[in-house]
Structures are given as C-alpha cells and as structure tokens.
Symmetry: C2
Subunit: 228 residues, 2 copies
Amino acid sequence: MLTQTDLRTVPVSHSHTSSIARSAPVRGGIGAIETMGSQMKFSANAEIFGEDEPAEYVYKVVTGAVRTYKILNDGRRQISGFYLPGDIFGLEIGKEHQCSAEAINGVTVLVVRRSAIVSLAERDCEAARELWSFTGRELRRVQEHMLLLVKSAQQRVASFLLEMSKRLAATDAIELPMSRQDIADYLGLTIETVSRTMTQLVSEQTIVLPSSRRIVLRNAGALRRLNA
Amino acid sequence: MLTQTDLRTVPVSHSHTSSIARSAPVRGGIGAIETMGSQMKFSANAEIFGEDEPAEYVYKVVTGAVRTYKILNDGRRQISGFYLPGDIFGLEIGKEHQCSAEAINGVTVLVVRRSAIVSLAERDCEAARELWSFTGRELRRVQEHMLLLVKSAQQRVASFLLEMSKRLAATDAIELPMSRQDIADYLGLTIETVSRTMTQLVSEQTIVLPSSRRIVLRNAGALRRLNA
DNA sequence: CGACCATTTGATATGGATCAAGCGATGTGG
DNA sequence: CCACATCGCTTGATCCATATCAAATGGTCG
C-alpha cells in the first residue's frame, strides 16, 4: 500500500551507557533529556522503532518530524501522532512499544535509555511526577485526537491545519513536513478526501496553497468556526 | 437530545477530611483507595462530575457503571469510557476534569481527595509510579478506543461486545448496564446502526438476544475474526 | 526529455446517517 | 383490570458524505 522505501539508518553511537553515568547529578527527570542523551540521525522514512519491540529508549526530536502509527488488520495505517522539534516520544509504561515510529523526513533525535529515566524516578519523586505529567499530556492529546475522528472531513482537516499552524508556524505560512497520505492516515480519511477538502478551503479563500506542502492560513477564524 | 432526568444525588458524607489523616500510614498509592476513601451513591443518570469542574476527587466504582463523555460543539455526545466495578476514574493530571461523568445505573463509588493522592506521591516514589502506571493504562485504553473509531460498524460493535464480555461476563451471557444510545455514543455510530448491526449478528447466529440488555455470545470466534 | 511519484480531479459506489414508522415493555390513571 | 401514554428499541425507506476506482496534472530527478 504505502510504498515507502525503507532507508533505515544505522544508529549513531548506540549503546552509549556512559551517558547514563552522567545522568546521576542531573535534576528534573525527563526534562533533563538533553543533558544526558546521545544523538541519533534517521533519514526519511527510516524506522525508529517498531510496535512490540522492547522500549529501550526514549526520544526527543531535535530536528525533523516523526510519525507514530499502528497498522490495522485490514492493512490501513492509523497515525497516532506527529512529533516535532522539542517533542518527546517513545516513552512507555510497559516494556514494549505500543506503536511504530518512523522519520517523516531527515530527523535528529536525542536518545536516553528508558531504564535511566525509570530508575531516576525511583529515587526522585519530582522526576516521577514529571513522568506522570508527560503521560498525562499524551493522554489528553490522544483524547483530543479521538474526538477528531468522529467529526466531518472538513472539521478534521480544519483541526489539522490549526494544530500544525500552532505547532510549527512562526508566521501564518505552514511548511508541512508530511505527505497527504500521512495527513489522511492521521485524520482517518483517504488521500482524495483530504485533497478535495483542501481545494475546497482554497476556493472559499480560507487557505492558500502555494505548493502542496506549503499552506497559508488566510482566514483562521473560519477554520476555527468549523470546529469548536 | 438525550432526555435524561437528572437525579443528582447529594454526596454521602462529602468533605470528609478525616479520611486523609488515615492515609498517612497506608502504602501503595492509589491502590490504597479503598482503605482511605468515603463512599458515595449516585442514582441512574446522576452527574458525578462535570467537564472543567475542579478535579477534587478520584473515584473507584464499587457497584454499578459509569460513563465519561464530552459534548461536541454540534451537540453530539462522545462517550470516552465505561467504568465498571473495580475501575478508577476521574484522576486528572491538571486541576480540572477533562470529561463529564455520569452514573449509568445506580452506582456506589469510593472517593478520595485528589490532593491526598498527589501529596502522597510527592513523598512516596512507589505511589508516584502507580499514578504514572494508572495514567499509562488509561492512555492505552484511549489509544485502543481511537483505533476503534476508524473501523466499520460491524467491527466496532464486535469489539464492544468482546470488551464487555471480557469485563463483565462471568459466563458467555452479558448483562449490559448501558442503553443503545450509550453504546452508539461510545462507538461513534447512531443508535439505529448499532441496533441493525446487532440484529445482523443475531441472524448470523453470532449472538443471541434474549432481551435488548442481555446478550449471549454464541460464536465469539466470529466476532474476533471481524477485527484483529 | 522522459520516468516517476505525489497530488489533484472526475465519475461512481456504498456504508452509515437521517427521517419516519412500528413494536414491545413498563407504568399510570380511570 | 384494562385503555392508553411513554420510552427504548427495532425496522424500513431514502439520502448523503466519503470511499473507491480511474485518469489527468504537475513537480523532481536522472
């Protein structure tokens, strides 16, 4: 279905246990990821981790964009989240990843061993609270996403545009890292419906599409009105 | 829309701060809810808490069933979860509830102050871990529910029946506490579609319907095959 | 230029929503 | 005790949003 050339990159400096030693004096739980992790790079469409694989690492996006997803029994792919610079992903409660994760484009991530974070939380209640709080934010995000999936195509696309605008637009112009197929699989729609909805928004002067990946919000109010 | 007579029950022994004092020697975080809480009763369709209300309490179902939901801007209701005896609900990371909660039928719950749990977690890392773990399970549940909402009506109903069978059936007969409207709002379908799908399953000999609230799984394998 | 891939556009099909009516259980008042 | 209103559920007829199938367009890279 999704003919994605799997260009899996070999991790840069993988089992880097020395970084854990550095973690001891650090305060502030997962917020401290940047000071204790090592960097890894992935090229476009490379798998970062797979569903049911042991969740050995936690990741923080430095540059690029990441998608997490599950493949349904009928072959469809449901994308559960997009992760952009600054976002943390791959943190699990259990031992295995619940989703797969792939680089959307070229991605740099910071990586920390899950065990380092978990053992820190055993000693430091503040770190434990941060873990809880992170998972709580993730829970909210997924709940929001769930609500999205019972709305009309127009509403879903509008929500998506507003979300992306908030998350990655400095100005009113958005540079999307992901393809139409990614968007469709995120919104639970087909690529055709996403495309048609976009053209409709263009014809209503709500957005401008200088190119398929570049979107300018001309009337964000109209997008908001579609939804809440 | 949903003409539910709001029979809100006045809490039994509400601000019961003495119970917090009792909490100090208790170990095991939210698992200890039963030893530190006070009981409350709600009659059918009574509101337990409302969206955006301060999340002062955490609840554990003793008897009966609870639904949590959000009302969408277009007036539809999306039920995010059903909580059955033994289940905990209403635990928030932030200060306000993200959903409303109502008793489906007559309900008895145990209630603990959120502040008691949170402050316990500040001292006891093990309790903090339990909080994290609870929210993590909730996250998984919602992720699963999200996947449900992109499936066909048949698949959604089948999943629902299997879920309920697992959660509240001792035998292969299920006694549903919730109405068809509740089921529909949980599955993101209309009441008519739920009903039609059930009759279809009956005609395929997959289930038997002695009454609308009583469901016997005749061929659970067939239900499973519809899905994963 | 020409192959390739992502995206858009067009034509048609269909699953589930909507609108409307019927049915069975439960309860109420005469 | 029965006529009748009410409520939750089922069934039927039709409509519509989105999926599906198919083709055209456009951008990118050799």
